[in-house]
């Protein structure tokens, strides 16, 4: 072997967008590929090297019995395991099945439900194996991904803030869409990382990065109601790509 650290990228139930983020690092991809050994990354290469791997990046959520076993094998072959994106970190949009009857879902989509093998829930990777770091986002941010990969390969903690989207609006000087325009916004309870993207496009945050550390959803929900949102509207707002994250689950069902 070359003595360079080895990287593997794994996919579970997901849209491929978070691993695509690695290929979207157009300016850094080739230098990165010189600094590390890409041991297993099926979307990018047919060459596959056996583990163990210094760093595994895991995209997607666990939704089948087979995948629940596969993540155990990946964990035991990985020195560090980092989940990338909302699916791997909170179960993703497919976790909406957790609040419904999955047999009925299967019947709605498939003519022959008996061919489909699926679990009743979509669960994050950390519900199955220990995870060394969770990178948020739907999709993840490429600068944050580069920071996480660099940090792990140098043996330090990644510098990823756990504050809210509000702090990014303030830093960018983006006018508060909720205060100024009465637009419902999840920014006060959503983790930073997108650089306040939606508010900077005159749109309320819809929670791609999931709940921030200790989010005060109890204070936000009445505010959303005062802006004319019904219980159903509020529930739908919290039930998207991070519907399975506990603070958003609670906010979706309680005032």
């Amino acid at each position: 072997m070359s003595g360079k650290p080895s990287l593997a990228v794994w996919k579970f139930a997901s849209c491929d967008g978070c691993q695509l983020t690695l290929l979207d690092l157009e300016d850094e991809l080739l230098p990165l590929a010189n600094a590390i050994d890409i041991a297993d990354f099926r979307e990018a290469t047919s060459a596959v090297a056996a583990g163990p791997y210094d760093l595994s990046l895991v995209e997607g959520s666990i939704t089948t019995p087979h995948d629940a076993e596969r993540i155990q094998e990946i964990r035991s072959a990985s020195k560090a395991l980092v989940t990338i994106g909302a699916c791997a970190t909170s179960g993703g949009i497919q976790a909406l099945r957790n609040f419904a009857d999955v047999d009925e879902f299967t019947r709605i989509v498939y003519a022959s439900p008996q061919y489909i093998s699926t679990l009743a829930t979509s669960t994050p990777i950390a519900a199955h194996v220990p995870v060394d770091f969770e990178l948020r986002g739907c999709p993840i941010d490429k600068r944050q991904l580069l920071e996480v990969v660099t940090a792990f390969l140098h043996g330090r903690r990644p510098g990823i803030p756990a504050t809210s989207v509000c702090t990014e609006c303030k830093r960018r000087g983006v006018v508060c869409v909720m205060v100024a325009h009465g637009t419902p916004c999840l920014g006060p309870v959503t983790q930073a990382g997108c650089n306040a993207l939606c508010p900077s496009y005159d749109r309320g945050c819809f929670g791609c990065f999931g709940p921030m550390e200790t989010p005060n959803t109890g204070a936000l929900v009445p505010l959303l109601r005062r802006l004319g949102r019904s219980d159903d509207d509020v529930q739908r707002l919290f039930r998207t790509f991070n519907a399975g994250a506990e603070p958003f689950q609670k906010a979706a069902t309680h005032d």
Binding site: I93, T118, T240
Partner: protein, 429 residues
């Protein structure tokens, strides 16, 4: 005679999880199958009960490579039902955003997923050690596509700026002008890409099934159009279900499409080019002619050249839209929900994408149907594989497996999309 089974249990350089099995008895092909084990995610089920404003954000998450296709087909369906036609500047901005996605997706496929097959490498990263200039050219092209998506859509993966009725925020003329120079460089890179791919060695392989694509008078259809086929269909989006059906087979978590009553068809670059090459920009047509393409191209392996020609067109078209851009008066038209069924189509980079939504009077989604291009192409891919294997049984297992995988990549399958989709196994006995 020897029986053998050739298997690829996890296809590389495609989007999503699939596998292939080929069973041979001497020179006779016993069985070919594409298995799609990408887990089901049930989008059509959980769209029920959501608001008519939500499909652009929710369905984008079906695919990280072509989210704009999902957003566009979704807004087309809902706006049509609600009787809203967006003003021309909004339509052109959507077309520009979509051109960005074509550039990003085609550059990814041509350079990173497909070219390594023709040149004998495992990946673009390996290829870059011997041909750094080519790979850097591809990455620069891809980045320009992403830059277009980022400016118009907010970000390259799952853009946040598309809404039913228009956009949340529209760029100024000056902001768009910043894309002109990168797009002019990208157009040169795209022309070079056509020359580069046209020089590859192409195994002969003619696709003889029906070809299906959108067409639109006086333009190469992307974000709108009527559904046409090489056999003479000419349909409004609302007539799709009358002519196409989805079937469910045991080996696949993807539904497979066929013409009603049986009949395989192919959508994507070969279909678009064959039905409408005359609508490409003059520069793209010239590049196609220099690359040896006629008015039609049914050669599956030359799809990489057609994709490269479409790269030229997408750059040209982006520059044309930016040059003529006048910001719309307001970023979005108001849309009030209407009870009924809406139908929307658009040309994703890998082919026709159909959406259908049924709404009640307050805008709640009662029923949704989404048919991605890879579901529609799956039967054609299997037919093609069967034929490629039958003509190449003299090859040893490794060479045959590599040829089969390359054959599959000719179609740029997106398995994440198709699941509601793929393991390569070749079994010889």
């Amino acid at each position: 005679m020897t029986k053998r089974t050739i298997v690829t249990d996890y296809l590389a350089r495609v989007e999503g999880e699939g596998a292939m099995t080929v069973k041979l008895d001497g020179d006779r092909v016993e069985h070919v199958e594409l298995r799609i084990f990408e887990p089901p995610r049930f989008f059509e089920a959980f769209l029920r009960g959501r608001s008519f404003t939500e499909p652009p954000d929710i369905t984008a998450r079906i695919c990280g490579i072509c989210p704009v296709a999902y957003q566009t087909s979704a807004v087309n369906a809902i706006e049509r039902l609600c009787g809203v036609e967006v003003p021309e500047p909004i339509r052109l901005l959507r077309r520009l955003l979509y051109c960005g996605e074509w550039i990003e997706s085609h550059a990814l496929h041509v350079y990173m997923l497909h070219a390594p097959d023709f040149l004998g490498y495992d990946s673009a990263i390996e290829l870059a050690r011997d041909a750094p200039a080519a790979v850097e050219r591809g990455l620069a092209l891809k980045r320009t596509g992403n830059d277009v998506m980022t400016l118009v859509g907010g970000r390259e993966i799952h853009p946040i700026n598309v809404r039913v009725g228009g956009f949340y925020c529209v760029p100024t003329r000056r902001e768009l002008r910043a894309l002109v120079e990168p797009l002019e460089r990208a157009r040169e890179a795209a022309l070079e890409t056509v020359r580069w791919t046209a020089g590859f060695d192409f195994p002969e392989r003619v696709v003889d099934c029906d070809l299906v694509a959108l067409t639109q008078p006086d333009e190469y259809a992307i974000e709108r159009g009527r559904i046409r086929s090489s056999s003479g269909l000419d349909l409004a989006p609302a007539e799709y279900d009358e002519h196409f059906e989805e079937i469910h087979v045991e080996r696949s978590n993807a539904l497979q499409s066929q013409l009603r009553g049986g009949g395989t068809y192919l959508c994507g670059p070969l279909a678009r080019y064959s039905l409408a090459s005359g609508e490409l920009s003059p520069l793209a047509r010239e590049a196609a002619a220099e690359a040896g393409l006629g008015e039609e191209c049914r050669d599956a392996f030359r799809s990489i050249v057609v994709r490269s020609v479409e790269l030229v067109h997408a750059c040209d078209e982006s520059l044309r839209i930016i040059d003529a851009y006048d910001a719309p008066e307001r970023p979005a038209e108001p849309v009030e929900p209407v009870a009924g069924t809406g139908y929307g189509v658009s040309e994703a980079p890998r082919g026709l994408l159909y959406h259908r939504y049924r709404l009640d009077a307050d805008g709640t989604i009662l029923d949704a149907k989404i048919v991605p291009p890879t579901s529609q192409n799956q039967l054609a891919i299997e037919d093609d594989l069967r034929d490629v294997v039958a003509r190449n049984t003299r090859l040893d297992d490794d060479a045959l497996r590599a040829l089969c995988e390359q054959t599959i990549r000719n179609y740029d399958p997106c398995i994440s999309c198709a699941t509601h989709f793929l393991d390569l196994e070749v079994e010889r006995r």
